[in-house]
Subunit: 760 residues, 2 copies
């Protein structure tokens, strides 16, 4: 059933009654006219390709480029000896644009070529002769941590990329005093964000040394800073212009830095634009999937089900280079602790280098991986205590006004209502005995205060055009989640104008305010707040100019300019008046939203986000105990994401996010063979098709958050967080056995049943 | 001898000692990497072509598009029946995007096609079948004015596109009281601006109805308004983005509106970008040359040489459509009257439709055509009175403080010194008897107050970037004359920073302040003033933010931020401070220069420009009286263009302008055969080559004008104004006969000598 045909569902208005606009991109996308990275063409453009290591670990002894250099159509052949040996990175500086002395995984970048067409570039790759001396390699974190293991980076002894130990309260005492202690181990493989559009870019370096990179990114300004730093260019000489983005799911926060750097270097060397694009196979083999994780979790409870403590031992697999894996590991190791009131916590987490594909992040930043483990363990505990899985959660869940164990300040929270509504929607009180049921809850940050402590907010501009239309400038990014529609609706609401009168400019770092971009669910909450303030500022400026023009006070009401005697002025006339008076300046409202400073101690205790979203999911599954085959029949997805501005887009987020959560839980996961990615096509790496997605019952419990425009909170990430927990619990309920390794498959269920490993 | 090797010439510093930057484009141009219109490529781009009338005047009876429509690769075939019949125009609305009922010249646009490549587009043109009924045509203004002549536009009876009659003072009494009356008739053909890059554009209409036109224009914002009006789009939905411009010379103020409209319509019809470009032949045959003019001039003088009155009868040839020919005719009919003190004026001017190529404008807006006539006649008068041509000019020339006969207010004027210096440089007091000498003077407006009475000025923005660099935003255009270098130097001067720290953004109507663009010598004078004010505003904002950051007063001196105790802050640190404090706003200086309002009566009496530039040229020629062959040996070109910011660029302007003036005077001129352009290649339409350009002695008399930044005045147009007069007078001096028809050729001199028509 189409979303907007759901009973009582109104796609054109939100719960405040405001008219909703779907944003400027939707028509081009619907018509197939939107231009993505792969469509980019620049005059004189060359095509770049990368030579990659066939070895998981080897020393480079020599690279002979003479044959490639001499081929017709080849314009540049770059190796590490042509460029500076300056390391760069997101959290730690462990990468070079091209491998210098060693390659560390199958796919490591060894040389880059630019040629007049793709064929010539491919021929150049074939003509490159690299002499390697293979080194012993290590593929599993445990082996990499073992004494005597081969060292992947000299500057990271023991192959430890990052680690933490954390204690809140007194976990030892809590475990001693507990009526029940449960524990289990869980395993989650690497997954790929699988955005539909593989990453592509065109870099163009001009003669005075300006560099423009055309590529679609969630956080173009942050990438600009990294690129400028790595290439030693002044920030303002690097411009990022975005085509339409074909999905991101976290994978395009930083995109593929290597691709941007190498195309930029090739453009600097040739003086011509250079296009590079990843194939789907490259996306899987070198495209920065999410870290794999092993979690050992222990919980202490009172006999009435009260949560006393949690202890976690977490090992995450970094692959050969680090990207933002330390931050993902950190979130994975702590965020889930704030879903419920758990006063005592002990966590040990460690991120380990291996000779595999480097990892990064993915929608929900590992929070869903932890959710799978933690929510599975809660059901194990409820089972032992003879408590209802819903009731144990209701009894412990975080509430508005709480400061959680890690210091998160919860200003609004409808988690209890979300749990009740998810249960109601799945028919919790009237469960079908032939099916299994699971429930799970999640929290996610909305608007990070710690990603950049100095720059926590956002700004925007709103310009009144000479024709009375309004153009918004924001550095935030829409990659399908509806940011631009939301901004249009927010600004239209403030000015009380038809949303169709608004245009948006967001995809050019030259003209838009600097922004953190589409990460940590900050687009509508933080970016939208800036748009709201810019529109309010513009309204004030319009009233001032109109009053000056009329020689008497003029007010803007219901989108119309009225003076005291009720006479009405046109917006365009006021714009032209100001334009003439200033010989070309425009009435430009500025909005600048600066969240409160973060209080955050060295143990990471503090309020790390502007606000927090909550979700509860309930799942109904059917398992064939003979074969392990299972069917997800329904998922109820209930959300506290504050006020919903665009109900149609919000539902789209939920349906897409739950579908992706189903993939994460039951379909996806990297397979390796001695460091080589085996699951390297969409045939080997399965994501759910439309037929695999169950019926999803979506519901929003609209709270009004004190932060964010119109009380909104993020939705994009939290929507996936509770899916693995709910599905794992539903499968365990139906099968009578628990699968502790993702993805949950019929084979794993069958084996668990066969082994008689009943974890219930 | 290269300019910068001239004795005592300093290319790196100007007369104020300031360091000079040549602007951001020069390196790309020098390296052959600059991208021009013809280089443009957009994804999915189609190629557009135009079917043109083979008849000078005909009725369109039918157009059969079926065959063309059916051809492979053809995506659109447009005729007038597919589009709205909305007339548009610059001064009068006499054009349609495609001819509806009638074609009015050989080349008139009848149909437009878009196809996947140029060949398919050409085939589509060949497959179009148009049935014409030829009508009688008229090619000469006199014939077009005759009673019973064929009417070219129903709404312009008598074929009169525009006319004026003007009287200042009492010319009848002056002519009665005069000691001497001289008169003569002069003829000037159409000339083409002959910018090296033929006009090209790519129009791209997207799904929500936004239209982006990529094309290089002198006045993109004005063109945007016309396009939006013609296509009935809101102004702000039309964006013009400029590649580098390969010359303009006035021809790119409006460029080729037909091309922009047709590519836009084809893009709207197909949903894809459409590229169109003119061939050199099309440039000549339909590319809007300057109006041809016939002038009959009469002057009244006292016996001491004092000018008493001038009477002019002027007929200009408009061709089939009007563009800005009325404005050019107006300037041609009056501007030269202000070079000297002439208290009594009578002018009759008339612009006439003919079935020839439509006309427009050209560098100096017809002022050089009038100069040829008026300065020739002054020499005739001097000869009759036995006065020295230099002295008669010195006795009459306009001076600072004057309000001229048409109301121009002359705030600075070194014309007298320019005349003396030009004479000195050519060796006037010590003339070689084997040569002929001529001298001539000119005035030109700098910064029109009447092009748009409501919008006379300019504005600019200056942004402090996070790395301490400064980015300037201005809507003004550099097409080789050095605007961007001048702006950089002006802003660098205000902030006392290295010019290399500045970047400029000027070629995108979305992000730059609205501007009149590169017309009427307003770039440095008006646009530069706005940049100066923006830089000053930025300096103030920087000092405020730095003081706030330091908690004590901080001043910016010699480009450095200093507090009272002498400690120094980095610009980048202040930028980052403000960026963090506002979550992404930038320190943005705004400069808005609004010139005084114009007082201008219905007879066009008034001060039409912010300021005025002056020039005097002297020429030395040698004529072979046996054959008429002549050699221009030297031209002295002396200028009052106020302060010179960039001496190297200013000299480049003078050398190029004088060379083009030599072309106008002695080489160029359209030839027609029954309405068909005969001189349609650069072989038939000769412009001077490097070998044809004489030695040019260039000199600037630097006045300080009260308007304009740093006292500058325009240079680009006035540099050509005195050339035809100086050359005509030098040839007459050498040959003993006067040629009154441009171009001056050996054949015309030979014929004049043969006829014994001695006009001296």
């Amino acid at each position: 059933m189409p979303i907007d045909k759901e009973k009582g569902f109104d796609a054109k208005n939100n719960s405040s009654g405001a008219t909703v606009n779907q944003g400027p991109d939707v028509w081009a996308k619907a018509a197939g006219r939107a231009l993505y990275g792969i469509d980019l063409q620049l005059p004189g453009m060359l095509y770049g390709k990368i030579l990659r290591s066939p070895h998981p670990h080897a020393r480079i002894k020599a690279i002979d480029t003479a044959e490639a250099d001499a081929l017709p159509g080849v314009r540049a052949v770059l190796t590490a000896s042509d460029i500076k040996k300056k390391r760069y990175g997101i959290v730690v500086q462990d990468e070079l644009p091209l491998a210098y002395d060693r390659v560390r995984y199958i796919g490591d970048e060894v040389a880059a070529v630019a040629a007049v067409d793709e064929k010539s570039a491919s021929r150049a790759l074939e003509a490159l002769n690299v002499e390697y001396e293979p080194l012993s390699a290590v593929f599993e974190p445990k082996a990499a941590l073992a004494q005597g293991a081969v060292q992947i980076h000299d500057q990271f002894p023991g192959n430890i990329a990052w680690q933490r130990e954390l204690e809140r309260g007194n976990p030892d005492r809590a475990f001693k005093e507990a009526d029940l202690v449960v524990e289990n181990s869980f395993s989650i493989p690497s997954v790929h964000p699988t955005y539909l559009e593989p990453i592509a870019c065109v870099a163009s370096s001009d003669y005075p040394g300006n560099l423009t990179i055309h590529t679609a990114l969630q956080s173009p300004d942050i990438v600009r800073d990294i690129i400028a730093g790595a290439l030693e260019l002044p920030f303002s000489k690097v411009r990022i212009v975005g085509p339409v983005m074909g999905g991101g799911f976290g994978g395009r926060v930083y995109g593929n830095l290597k691709l941007y750097l190498l195309s930029s270097l090739l453009s600097q060397f040739t003086g011509l634009p250079v296009k590079m694009q990843l194939s789907r196979e490259e996306e899987f083999c070198i495209g920065r999937p999410m870290i794999a994780a092993e979690l050992k979790i222990k919980m202490a409870l009172r006999s009435d089900g009260t949560f006393l403590a949690r202890e976690s031992e977490i090992v995450t697999d970094n692959g050969a280079y680090s990207a933002q894996a330390p931050w993902v590991s950190k979130t994975l190791s702590e965020r889930n602790d704030s879903v419920y009131r758990i006063p005592n916590i002990r966590t040990r987490a460690c991120l380990v280098y291996t000779n595999k594909v480097p990892t990064a992040q993915y929608r929900a930043y590992g929070n869903q991986a932890a959710n799978f483990a933690c929510e599975s363990l809660i059901d194990q505990a409820a089972e032992k205590l003879g408590l209802d899985p819903l009731q144990i959660r209701l009894n412990n869940c975080t509430q508005a006004g709480d400061t959680t164990v890690h210091g998160l300040k919860i200003k609004s929270c409808a988690l209890k209502d979300c749990l009740k509504e998810a249960a109601a929607k799945i028919g919790w009180s009237n469960r079908n005995k032939n099916c299994g049921y699971g429930i799970s809850a999640g929290i996610h940050a909305s608007g990070s205060l710690v990603a950049n402590k100095d720059f926590r907010g956002a700004s925007a501009r709103a310009v009144l055009e000479l024709d009375g239309r309004v153009t918004l400038f924001s550095g935030e990014q829409d990659y399908g989640q509806g940011t631009y529609g939301a901004f249009t609706n927010i600004a239209a609401g403030v000015l009380e104008l038809d949303p169709d009168l608004f245009s948006l400019n967001c995809r050019d770092s030259l003209i838009t305010p600097y922004s953190q971009g589409a990460l940590a669910n900050r687009q509508t909450t933080i970016g939208g707040r800036a748009v709201q303030l810019a529109a309010a500022d513009l309204k004030k400026l319009i009233e001032e100019a109109a009053s000056e023009m009329a020689g008497e006070p003029v007010r803007m009401e219901k989108g119309r300019l009225k003076s005291n005697d009720g006479s009405i002025m046109e917006l365009a006339a006021v714009a032209v008046y100001y334009h003439n008076r200033t010989s070309g300046l425009t009435l430009t409202g500025e909005g600048s939203y600066v969240p409160p400073p973060v209080e955050y101690d060295e143990t990471s205790y503090g309020n790390i986000s502007v606000t927090y979203s909550f979700a509860a999911h309930a799942a109904e599954v059917e398992v064939d105990r003979e074969t392990g085959a299972f069917t997800i029949k329904r998922i109820a997805s209930v959300h506290d994401s504050g006020r919903i501005i665009n109900p149609l887009a919000a539902r789209g987020q939920v349906y897409g996010g739950v579908a992706q959560g189903v993939g994460f839980s039951c379909y996806e996961g990297y397979l390796f063979d001695r460091g080589r990615v085996v699951s390297k096509t969409l045939a080997d790496y399965r994501i759910p098709t439309a037929l695999d997605v169950p019926h999803i019952a979506c519901c929003f419990i609209e709270t009004t958050d004190p932060e964010g425009p119109l009380g909104v909170k993020g939705l994009g990430e939290v929507v996936q967080v509770p899916v693995p927990g709910a599905l794992a619990n539903a499968v365990a309920d139906a099968a009578g056995v628990r699968v502790t390794e993702l993805p949950i498959t019929a084979e794993k269920i069958y084996r668990a049943i066969s082994k008689g490993e009943c974890a219930r």
